[in-house]
């Protein structure tokens, strides 16, 4: 078991945004997290990455508790994420965006950097090479010196995923990776997510509104509504679950969402 949450909950004032969440994700799985707007999906990501601290329950990554860790410590223990509203280092070059993500793996001390001695040059070369390699995989190599904010939207999303992978995570959290993409781009993205999972030996948890992508890609799905897990299981089962249909389409609609 890679990730396990134990009765995870958070309250904002009197509002229980998330209640009794019990995720169980095995190594190598591709899991979806869906639910109507405001169901608490991004809140789950923020709890997993240490942006919020839970009001109750606990999170375990490979058996180790993540409770009380700051976001950077969570990343260092192996969870990387992307954001619903892209958060690139928008004024920096595409290459620098990826280089920054390599940072915490580097051992070059401040003194070595200042004096340009010891590990400085070898490490800088390594980072540059690794980053370029990653950008090549994501088809961004010919744009590596462009400013990140000048990339088209789809490429910014790709860059954000590349940057997350540069931290060498074991678990990748994707927050609406297909938001704002056209059907063709979504298709490419589906293929890409499947491919990187194998290539980088990743486990993926993703939030998505595009049902076609979720049903197509995910092996298991959790459904949230008002912070409560209303269903979980294989896509086929979720598609037919009356509570999920009700949450998405309201009552007395016989057909499943497509």
């Amino acid at each position: 078991m890679l990730l396990k949450t134990d009765a995870l909950s958070i309250k904002f004032g009197g509002l229980t945004a998330l209640d009794d969440l019990n995720l169980k994700i095995h190594s190598g799985e591709l899991v979806g997290l869906i639910g109507p707007n405001g169901a608490g999906k991004t809140t789950v990501f923020n709890l997993l990455t240490g942006v919020y601290s839970p009001s109750g329950g606990n999170i375990f990554l490979s058996g180790k508790s993540l409770k009380g860790l700051k976001p950077f410590q969570v990343t260092q223990s192996g969870i990387a994420r992307t954001f619903q509203n892209i958060r690139l280092f928008s004024e920096l070059s595409v290459l620098d965006n990826v280089k920054i993500a390599h940072n915490y793996h580097l051992s070059c001390s401040l003194a070595e950097s200042v004096l340009r001695a010891g590990r400085y040059f070898p490490e800088e070369e390594d980072v540059e090479r690794e980053s370029a390699k990653l950008l090549e995989i994501f088809n961004l190599k010919d744009k590596m010196h462009e400013t990140a904010k000048n990339l088209p939207y789809g490429e910014q999303r790709r860059l954000e995923i590349a940057r997350a992978l540069a931290t060498r995570p074991s678990l990748l959290l994707l927050d609406e990776p297909a938001a704002g993409m056209n059907p063709q781009e979504t298709n490419d993205l589906t293929k890409m997510i499947r491919w990187i999972r194998g290539e980088f030996a990743l486990t993926v948890l993703l939030i998505e509104h595009d049902m076609r992508l979720v049903m197509d890609l995910c092996e298991r799905i959790y459904v949230l509504e008002y912070g409560i897990t209303i269903a979980q299981g294989a896509p086929e089962k979720i598609r037919r679950d009356p509570r999920v249909i009700e949450a998405y389409l309201g009552e007395e609609v016989p057909d499943a969402p497509h």
Binding site: T49, A80, L92, I100, S113
Partner: protein
Amino acid sequence: MNKTRKNDLIMFFCGAVVFLLLHALMETEIIGPFWQLNIILACINIILAVSLNLINGFTGQFSIGHAGFMAIGAYVSAIMTVKQGLPFIIAILAAFIAAAALGFVIGVPTLRLSGDYLAIATLGLSEIIRVCILNTPYVGGASGFMGIPHLTNFPWAFGLMFLTVYLIKNIVNSAHGRALIAVRENELAAETMGIDAAKYKTLAFTIGAGFAGLGGALFSHYFYLAHPSSFTFMRSFDILTMVVLGGLGSISGSIIGAVILVFVSAALADFPEWRMIIYAVTLIVLMIFRPQGLLGNKELSEKMLGLLRKGGIRRDAA
């Protein structure tokens, strides 16, 4: 990476040429004492501006307390040379260490704040430092610390200025520098990339404060005197103006900004009351026409000079 080393060599070479040229002109008294004073002042101001840029421009933490750290450097170094009779180099090191240590102690609690709140906190802290000095008879209190030996000369000022620029440039161009810039660009994203934002903010603040202390040491050992009124918040604003004029996040911008402002105020030496007006007008014009500062966050480079040249040709053709 050879390119990086080549650029370093070019920088050393240019530095040496400028130094020898200015030094020769001063020795032969073609540059008189008035301009000599202003050149040394420019060197000190470059140290202050570049170090403030590390905090404000590269790390994005809006600090306006630089005068406080400068004061610490000025007084600590004066204590070392006057009261302890130690050599200048020890005094300079002590100034750096004392200011950096204070920067660290102040940085840890205040850097939880951001934006305007941080600006107000740093402003307040630099005033606290000044008032503390004002009320310490050991360092002369309100009448100032007098009898400081005149040890700062052009080689010291230029050498330390060059060292500051070189070291800060190296920090900025390393993995640590990328972490600082990431914190400026997007703190949450930086944390998500495994960067300890609090640590790097404190680091920038500590190093910036240290170099401000170094500038202060040169300052007090040039004017024979360290006086609390030299380190009011107006001094912090002067330094900030240089940084903003040159461009937040550009080391060469800070150098240009510092040189311009020193020579503008030197040219206006006979009309001191005009100085602040010119400052204000400069800043207003800059904010309207070029809010990112003269160089923005770019460095002056061969490429930029090349673009200027190309632009010139195109304009000629049209």
